[in-house]
Amino acid sequence: MMSILDYLTRRRKKTASVAKERLQLILSREHATDSGPDYLPALQKELLAVISKYTHIDLDDIKINLEKDGDCEILELNIALPEKQNEVA
C-alpha cells in the first residue's frame, strides 16, 4: 500500500502527463484498428491468443502498430519475450 501512496502523492502534480502518455498509446492502437482492413482486429486478437498460449507474456510487452508505406500497409508486431522461456502447462 505504501508504494501506491508514495506514487500518488509524489506524482500528484504530474498525473496529467501520465494521462497523456496512456491516451497516446491507446488511441493510436484504436486508430490503427479503425483505419486498417476489416480483419485486423480479429487478426490481432488471434495473434495475441497464440502468443500467450506458448509463453507467459504480459500483454503490455506486445506492441502492435499499423503503418502505411505508400500503397503498402505494414503490420508491425513487437514482442518482448521474457528472459526465461517458461512454457505454459
Partner: protein
C-alpha cells in the same frame, strides 16, 4: 454465495464508473474475489480507470458470441490477484446483449467469484437494462442535483419492475444510495440539495457520501482507482463505502466544510 451488484444512475457522468472501479478494488483488497464488468458498449472506459487499457484483447461481446472464453477475456488486475476486469466492446453491436447471452456469462462468473460488479451505462436503453437485470443488490449513484435525483428515482422504478428478481417475484433487489460529487460548502450556502433531502426524496438507505475531490481526476489520470489513494477524502469515503457494504457500522464523514478545509490544507485535495 456470489452476489451481483449493479452500479447505476440513469443520468450520465455522475460517477458510476469511478464508483464501480473503487468498489470492486475495495472488495478485492478485503479479500473477496471480485469481477467488474463494463456494460458501456461502444464507450469503453472502465479499463482506463482501472489502468488495464493496454491489456484488453477480448471483450464482453466476444465472450457472449463465443469468440473467446471468459478466461481469455478476463483481465487480472496488476495490484490485486483476486480482481478481474471484463471490458466492454468498442464496436457498436449492442444487439449482442440478450438476456440469454448475458445470463450465461453472469452464471459462469457466479461459479468462481464472490462479487460481480456491473458498471451500467447511462440512460435506460438496452445496456443499462442488461446491467441491472441480474442484480441482487444495486448502488444508486446520485449527485445532489435535481435531474440526477429524478433519474435515480426512474431507475429505482425499473429495478423494481424490469429486473429478474422483479419478473420472477423473488426477494426485491437491495438498493443502496451513494451520493457522489458532494460539496459541503455548496450545501451550506443552500445551492445544493442536502443528503437528508435526497434520502427523503428517494426513500432508500444511504450507503456512502463521496465528496467532490481533485483526487478523482488524478486517480483516473494514473489509472489507479481512487480508493487506493488513502490520503484523499474521496479515497477514504470509498473505503468507508466498502466497509459499510460488508456490514460495518461507520459514521458518515466529510459532510461538513470544517473537515474538508482541514484536509484541503493538509493534502491540497
Amino acid at each position: 454465495m456470489s452476489k451481483v451488484v449493479v452500479v447505476t444512475s440513469g443520468k450520465g457522468g455522475v460517477g458510476k464508473t469511478t464508483t464501480s472501479a473503487s468498489f470492486a478494488t475495495g472488495l478485492a483488497i478485503r479479500g473477496h474475489k471480485t469481477a467488474v464488468i463494463d456494460f458501456d458498449v461502444g464507450l469503453r472506459n472502465l479499463d482506463l480507470i482501472m489502468g488495464c487499457e493496454r491489456r484488453v484483447v477480448y471483450d464482453f461481446v466476444n465472450v457472449i458470441n463465443g469468440e473467446a472464453s471468459l478466461k481469455q477475456a478476463l483481465i487480472r488486475d496488476k495490484a490485486h490477484n483476486n480482481l478481474f476486469i471484463l471490458p466492454a466492446s468498442q464496436t457498436r453491436d449492442k444487439d449482442a446483449f440478450t438476456i440469454e447471452g448475458v445470463g450465461k456469462v453472469i452464471d459462469e462468473l457466479r461459479e468462481s467469484f464472490d462479487y460481480i460488479i456491473c458498471d451500467s451505462p447511462a440512460g435506460i436503453e438496452k445496456g443499462a437494462m442488461m446491467a441491472l437485470y441480474f442484480a441482487d443488490e444495486a448502488l444508486i449513484v446520485t449527485n445532489p442535483e435535481v435531474s440526477s435525483v429524478r433519474d435515480s428515482d426512474r431507475i429505482l422504478g425499473l429495478l423494481g419492475a424490469k429486473s429478474k428478481r422483479a419478473e420472477e417475484d423473488l426477494e426485491p433487489i437491495k438498493e443502496h444510495l451513494v451520493v457522489t460529487r458532494y460539496s459541503a460548502s455548496r450545501v451550506e450556502t443552500g445551492e445544493m440539495l442536502t443528503i437528508e433531502d435526497i434520502q427523503e426524496l428517494l426513500g432508500i438507505d444511504l450507503l456512502a457520501v463521496i465528496p467532490e475531490s481533485g483526487a478523482v481526476l488524478h486517480a483516473s489520470n494514473a489509472g489507479v482507482p481512487v480508493v487506493r489513494d488513502e490520503v484523499s477524502n474521496s479515497g477514504q469515503a470509498y473505503q468507508d463505502l466498502v466497509s459499510r457494504f460488508l456490514g460495518e457500522d461507520l459514521p458518515m464523514r466529510f459532510l461538513d466544510t470544517k473537515k474538508k478545509s482541514f484536509l484541503k490544507r493538509l493534502f491540497g485535495t
